[in-house]
Symmetry: C2
Subunit: 358 residues, 2 copies
């Protein structure tokens, strides 16, 4: 009702001590008599005293909150990472300021400035790159920064990512082991480092295996389901179709799955599909997508740990990187290509579809 909260002076008066002593008592400083400490604590609880964050923030120059910059929280990949971050951050009772940039440079910049004004303790940037000016501002403010999934081009920061190359390599190796030779690739967002990494890895793997290097097998996507849909359609319109489609993320793979279904093309009997990320719904029995697992929660966890260490410790130590390992999750969207002799070694595969299977 009242809207007035007790200040440290109220509490001090109530306890008959000075505000300094209250502060010390509450902070568990050694120089305060046990009885006094207990008295202060008891009274504090009684009147529901809590220090004002603004006041201590002003005094101490910190805010006990960390900024989390994401492109689109509604992308199913993102919330899992956020959970990992939140979990760690909450243990130190820091708050998370969620900044959804919608991939707009302007909004990103504005958010960064807002975070700096708030004197955040640190910042995590997920699947995005800050432009040079923003980076400079963050550095000038001395705010620890961890980038996730995209490396900063020139400035070096703490970084958490996944070994995209080995992930893609595992997928291609597996498809090859099933007998595929014409493997298409749906690229991720234009000019994203993770997308570039994955595409480069695909090209390297194609070369290493001596596969069909037909450039029309690589089509541009943008990590969205729609782009996976149209990618699959254009691939299936090719005079010489691929027997397998590897997408740079699950959303596009699922889009491809939908398109193939619409086109009446059977998966995996006619075409195999592999995704990347292993989002939650990929394991639904009706989707049952073979994919590369991206340890999402661990990613968030690692990013938060790196950040907290940097906040607590020496800011001048060289930047650290955590590169997590992907793993292949074989489900039901992969099988040997049609009319192929038994492949060399075929892993057990869950049959999908209602009586389609191979």
């Amino acid at each position: 009702m009242s809207g007035v909260r007790p200040t440290i002076l109220d509490l001090a008066a109530l306890c008959g001590v000075s505000p300094a002593t209250v502060s010390n008592a509450l902070a568990d400083k050694p120089n305060v008599k046990a009885e006094t400490r207990d008295l202060v604590r008891r009274k504090a609880r009684e009147i529901g005293y809590h220090a004002s964050s603004a006041a201590r923030g002003l005094r101490l120059g910190r805010s006990w909150s960390i900024g989390l910059v994401v492109g689109d929280i509604a992308n199913p990949f993102v919330p899992d990472v956020v959970r990992g971050v939140e979990d760690v951050v909450w243990r130190e009772r820091k708050n998370l300021i969620l900044c959804n940039t919608d991939f707009q440079a302007e909004k990103k910049t504005a958010y960064v400035r807002s975070l700096l004004d708030k004197q955040i303790d640190g910042m995590i940037v997920l699947s995005q790159i800050l432009d040079a000016q923003d980076m400079e501002r963050v550095a000038a403010a001395g705010i620890p920064l961890v980038t996730v999934n995209r490396r900063a081009p020139d400035f070096s920061t703490d970084y958490v990512g996944i070994d995209n190359q080995s992930g893609v390599r595992m997928a291609v190796d597996y498809l090859v082991s099933l007998g595929h030779r014409r493997i298409a690739f749906v690229k991720g967002l234009f000019r994203s480092s993770s997308a570039d990494d994955r595409f480069a890895a695909y090209q390297a793997a194609v070369q290493a295996h001596g596969l069909d290097g037909d450039p029309s097998l690589a089509v541009q996507g943008d990590y969205s389901m729609e782009s996976g849909d149209s990618a699959a359609r254009s691939l299936m319109a090719l005079s010489q179709r691929p027997t397998a489609i590897l997408a740079a993320n699950d959303l596009m793979a699922l889009g491809a799955l939908g398109a193939l279904h619409d086109l009446g093309i059977r998966v995996p009997a006619d075409v195999s599909v592999v995704g990347f990320d292993n989002i939650q719904l990929a394991e639904h029995p009706l989707l049952n997508l073979t994919t590369i697992n991206h340890p999402k929660r661990e990613t968030g966890d690692a990013a938060a740990r790196l950040l907290l260490q940097r906040i607590a410790g020496d800011r001048n130590e060289p930047p650290r990187s955590v590169v997590l390992k992907p793993s292949l999750i074989v489900r039901g969207t992969t099988a040997p290509p049609p009319s192929t002799p038994k492949p060399r070694r075929r892993r057990p595969v869950t049959v999908r579809g209602t009586g389609d299977g191979g």
Copy 2:
């Protein structure tokens, strides 16, 4: 590099005016000469001056951030609502503090206190109820609060929700129109007001239509996919099976879909399935779930608007409610029950599955 940001005194000195004038200039107060204003602004931009949030927060008793309390950000329903909130809140350049409670009462309480310490401008609580003590604290601090999807039991706050009853009613009506008489219901989380509403609506609709009221047709779930899976399995184990399953949310409906697929039961030929919420992936061609649309983004939007109005305006006005309208989205998981004469009126239905359809 430096880590020292310019203060208002620096800027004042630089401009050869007093800090008060700088403050007024930057705040566009009328009592400042145009030239002075422009000078101050230019210099401010030059040296990159931004007021410290902590300082003005302390002075003004506000923080330009709003707390968003969710149970689990990884639940696909949640991020869409968050997007709606973020969009509106960002327009006023307020920040969002994301609090993920994991549905733990303790964590919820701790987060609320932390938010109050931060002097947040307002608070949105999504699909959860604060306990009486927390509510009291929020009220005592005079912090505007909007609850979403769950009404506060005793305290009355601003509220945004959906008309659960009419949503469920639409689903049941539709199933009945297809010819179903034995319609099962998978209940949502125990002791959640939205789950209760939906279940009550189901019961009412069953009664209104004079359907089979067999109590074993109502099984308890918890809004998770797993619970939908086991619910469907237990329903299919019934000696007299339902011909349709209505789940209190999409996740459970998808779980049911998976279970039915595993059991070799065809959807919708043998059993129809209807969800609630219309999460993004429900429209995937391979899932193609008939469901009730919950306007998620609009929900977040409305909640944020309500909150901002309350922050800006009179706090003593009576609480307002926004109740959004659900709508039926007919997709491929619904059809007339097996061996039924043509239903009275059958809406066009996308056939799903690979040649299952009816």
